[in-house]
Amino acid sequence: MIRFENVSKQYKNSQRPALTDINLDIEQGEFVFLVGSSGSGKSSLLRLLLKEETATSGNVSIDGLDVGKLSNRKVPALRRTLGIVFQDFRLLPSKSVFDNVAFGMEVIGKNRKEIRERVPEVIELVGLEGKEDRLPSELSGGEQQRVALARAFINQPKILLADEPTGNLDPSTSVGIMKLLDRINRTGTTILMATHDVAIVDQMRKRIVQLEHGTIVRDQQRGMYGHTGH
């Protein structure tokens, strides 16, 4: 489903490459943790999938679609098949929970009827029923991340990319978010999540891909953060 073949990324204004010769295959429905110390290239790898950046060499493909060769005009169509969650939630501060979630449908032209049906479903899925009319500033960090997850999931993407979604949350709130991600994963959505959170990685026992200095140093099924498994 997701495939990196000999991918390298060199930013223009940086001396050393952010990613070097990455080879990675992720199947449909997998849950993969992307770990590694700060600056190891996790976000860069996710940005290549979103085509926010383009690989310097090698191939990045999703479902056989060569992301690197995608014309600018076709990038929106690619992103509609992807859900994205960030550490800082990226909610619209002036819009209610309902409108923030609905935004994901509005920008791709869904009609009012579809929105009225679908949004409450997803708000319930993330456990925010009754808080539809609140503004993001009236929510806890964990709740805000649930809104962001609802928005990312609203169009039922095949792949959900999460860049340190629990980075700003305390451990117990993080567990709630992870449970939610697990539920979304069980609907068949492929999840690729970059994280530093040792406890979470160890608890979930999912596939771990570890980057250091832009290269993959470990790729392990049902792994633990600190253990290499040897």
């Binding site: 979103l50 990038v75 929106p76 169509a77 994205i84 619209l92 935004f103 509005e106 791709i108």
Partner: protein, 301 residues
């Protein structure tokens, strides 16, 4: 995208950017009013040319009792008048039409033109010269007519009316050019204002646009609200300009100028209505081009 969603985004954007929006509307209104005024002046000149060039082109004034011209020795005699008439007849077909206006007729026309003005009391009928009014097949044949009649006994002067009018038209043309130049400068200011407004709006909403982009909104749907904001302001400005021109026609031309200056053919409602769509075309065109250009730079996909 759904129209109600876009409408909400556009309305919100215009409110947030209120002072800039007002500035934009005013500058669009001013530049388009001047632009419209220039077009109106052109229509006015066309109307007047059509009206006057059609009527008289050359006036041959005959000597009166008190004429000071050097080949006048008292009032024109019947023989002299017939001589002039015969000369004009002989100039056909260059002379297409001619018409004799007596002192009394000239006085009556004068009274009509200056109805209610105290100037009438100071002018006696005999002070109005009698004349031949002549229409030429081609106005540029004036010299031929002038050569045949100038200095002839009983002829006080030969006047090329077209030349007199032309001087007047030149003044109108100058005014029109001036209005166009200011309209152009104002339009330039408008372009800069649109660019700045859109830039500020794009910056204020960079969070929204980046989220829109990340959920897969197309470039055009990300840019559309910004362009529509500029277009909305332009339409309001063009509306104000159109209203101003209509008011000028109604309250200045029709209510004040027309009744007092009846011998001038004034622009009609048809002329005014033909100009109005151009205000909207220019206003909307400017808004779309300037905002589209700015967004290309500030909202890179």
């Amino acid at each position: 995208m759904r129209t109600s969603f876009i409408a909400r985004e556009v309305g919100g954007g215009l409110r947030r950017n209120f002072t800039m929006t007002v500035a934009l509307i005013v500058s669009v209104a001013v530049s388009l009013t001047l632009f419209g005024a220039a077009l109106l002046m052109r229509s006015q000149v066309d109307r007047m040319k059509g009206y006057w060039y059609d009527k008289i082109q050359v006036s041959i004034f005959l000597c009166g009792e008190n004429s000071l011209a050097y080949n006048c020795t008292g009032a024109v005699t019947d023989t002299q008048r017939n001589e002039v008439r015969a000369t004009l007849e002989g100039l056909k077909p260059t002379v297409q039409e001619m018409y004799y206006e007596s002192s009394n007729e000239a006085y009556a026309r004068f009274k009509e033109q200056f109805k209610g003005s105290p100037i009438i009391a100071n002018v006696a009928p005999s002070a109005m010269p009698e004349s031949f009014r002549v229409k030429l097949d081609d106005p540029s044949h004036y010299d031929e007519v002038a050569a045949a009649l100038e200095g002839k006994p009983g002829v006080e002067s030969v006047q090329d009316q077209r030349k007199l009018l032309e001087r007047f038209f030149q003044i109108l043309h100058g005014l029109q050019t001036f209005a166009l130049a200011i309209a152009g400068a104002m339009l330039f200011v408008t372009v800069l204002l649109v660019m700045n407004t859109v830039r500020v709006a794009a910056f204020a909403r960079r969070r929204e646009t980046s989220i829109m982009r990340s959920v897969g909104a197309s470039n055009s749907s990300i840019r559309l609200p910004f362009i529509l904001e500029a277009v909305t302001a332009a339409v309001l400005g063009a509306g104000l300009a159109a209203g101003t021109l209509v008011a000028v026609k109604q309250y200045v031309i029709d209510a004040r100028l027309q009744p007092n200056l009846t011998f001038i053919a004034w622009v009609t409602w048809q002329d005014v209505l033909a100009i109005l769509p151009w205000l909207f075309v220019v206003g909307i065109g400017t808004a779309v081009l300037a905002s589209g250009f700015t967004l290309r730079r500030y909202l890179k996909g």
